[in-house]
């Protein structure tokens, strides 16, 4: 009788484990195959062309109806601003910023525009446990504030430090990040507001594949003027926004240690063991239990005492 009970529990547990495995198993394989949409759009940013006019910042602010900053967008002193020794970054009031870099050996400063790079396999998306992020066929990584719980894992996961949180709000906080003007422009085939505003055509909107070819051509036609690398072609698995620079990328604020594989790749080690544990553990530990307690007086005999006590 006692044996039976424990066997039944084991069976039940095994069953529960299997169901659990089916229900809870992360679809590791599937998520890796985020579709690389062939005709997705992107932007090629040519740092050799940017003059730091901040027109893109102003256009973004207006397009996305973000709060007005204290200083006008014509104020170039913002380039001196630092916080924690770092230059300006995106936050809940700005989806894009342009920073100035004085690079030794260059007779003029260089400017780098920062905004969401719209990864091919976004880390924010793969780390989100409520599916708040979507990579659209047009190339944008968009965000749904209606399901977000505000755990901020996407901010931890983003290798480019892009998503920001509306910490100032208690009742309707949300992630704030560049969405490639998806709702207002991209989905209608229009270029984003910042690109349209750029006087220097430092930002070039087009199909990602074409942009890579154009970037390569620019490098080839002016080998002395460019680094032989398109930043974003491979970084973090490839991004929709890509960059050309005349100086090594790390000298203009880019993180050149970002792996060429998608961030998700480093998480897969763990995701792979999950189904194993879910399916093997029940049998394994039930086996241990039988081995460890076979010869002893089974604990379950307490039941009877318990019942008698209750009477």
């Amino acid at each position: 009788m006692l044996e039976k009970i424990s066997r039944r529990s084991i069976l039940k547990n095994g069953l529960a484990g299997t169901i659990g495995a089916l229900l809870l198993r992360p679809k590791a394989g599937e998520s890796h195959d985020i579709k690389k949409y062939p005709n997705s759009m992107g932007v090629l940013v040519d740092l050799t062309r940017c003059v730091g006019c901040r027109s893109c910042e102003a256009a973004c602010n207006a397009e996305q109806k973000l709060p007005e900053p204290m200083q006008p967008f014509t104020d170039m002193e913002v380039f001196e601003e630092t916080e924690h020794g770092r230059q300006r970054r995106t936050d809940e009031t700005r989806y894009t910023v342009v920073n100035r870099y004085e690079v030794p050996g260059q007779d003029h400063p260089l400017f780098r525009k920062v905004q969401c790079n719209h990864c091919q396999e976004p880390a924010c998306l793969s780390s989100c446990f409520v599916n708040a992020y979507t990579k659209t066929p047009e190339g944008a990584v968009i965000y749904n504030a209606d399901v977000c719980v505000g755990c901020r894992t996407c901010m931890v996961a983003c290798p480019f430090y892009i998503p920001t949180f509306k910490y100032s709000s208690a009742f309707s906080p949300q992630i704030m990040k560049c969405v490639f003007c998806y709702d207002t422009r991209l989905k209608f085939g229009k270029q984003p507001a910042c690109v349209e505003a750029c006087p220097q055509e430092a930002l070039l909107f087009g199909q990602r594949d074409d942009l890579i070819k154009i970037g390569r051509r620019r490098i080839e036609e002016n080998k002395d003027g460019y680094q032989d690398h398109i930043y974003g072609e491979y970084e973090a698995g490839g991004t929709s926004w890509m960059y050309l620079s005349s100086v090594p990328f790390e000298e203009v604020g880019f993180d050149t240690n970002i792996p060429h594989e998608p961030i998700l790749d480093s998480v897969k080690n763990f995701l792979g063991i999950v189904p194993m544990v879910l399916t093997i553990w029940p049998a394994l530990f039930a086996g241990f239990h039988l081995l460890a307690t076979r010869k002893e007086q089974p604990r379950i005999s307490d039941d009877k005492n318990g019942q008698e006590d209750a009477q």
Partner: protein, 162 residues
Amino acid sequence: MKRPKPGARIFYLLLGGILCSFPALAMDIDDAPESVTIDYLQELYEPVTFDHRMHAENYACNSCHHHTTGDGPHNAVCGKCHTTSPAVDDVSCSGCHEEKKTAPAPATDGTAGTLYHIDKPGIKGALHLQCLGCHAAEGGPTECQECHALTPAGRKRFLVKE
């Protein structure tokens, strides 16, 4: 930003037609316009009056016009094909540089026109790239508002208080 009016142009070209009859010759300064009104960005900025005469007197035509005025290209890359190219009918910037919205798809047919000019900037980019680089090198004005006075809409966009 809204698109500029479709009818707007950069150069008032006065003499293009006459010069067509001397295709092998480079154009002459005297044939060039005194000034050109540029009003592409009129939503946010007042029109800019470009002193063409002053620039033409001080710089070679091909500093700006590549090879289209018939005096041979300044840029070595262009020189591969255009060293002996004659002047063209329409030397205005807007004659070649359209209002571009997206990067064109690279040519697949292998023709020269689509093979070599695929990365041609749009009109706004062409003007700024051409002007600003030189201004920086030659000490011309480089601050936005030194050329472009903001319109009321522009002041609103850039949050410039009165």
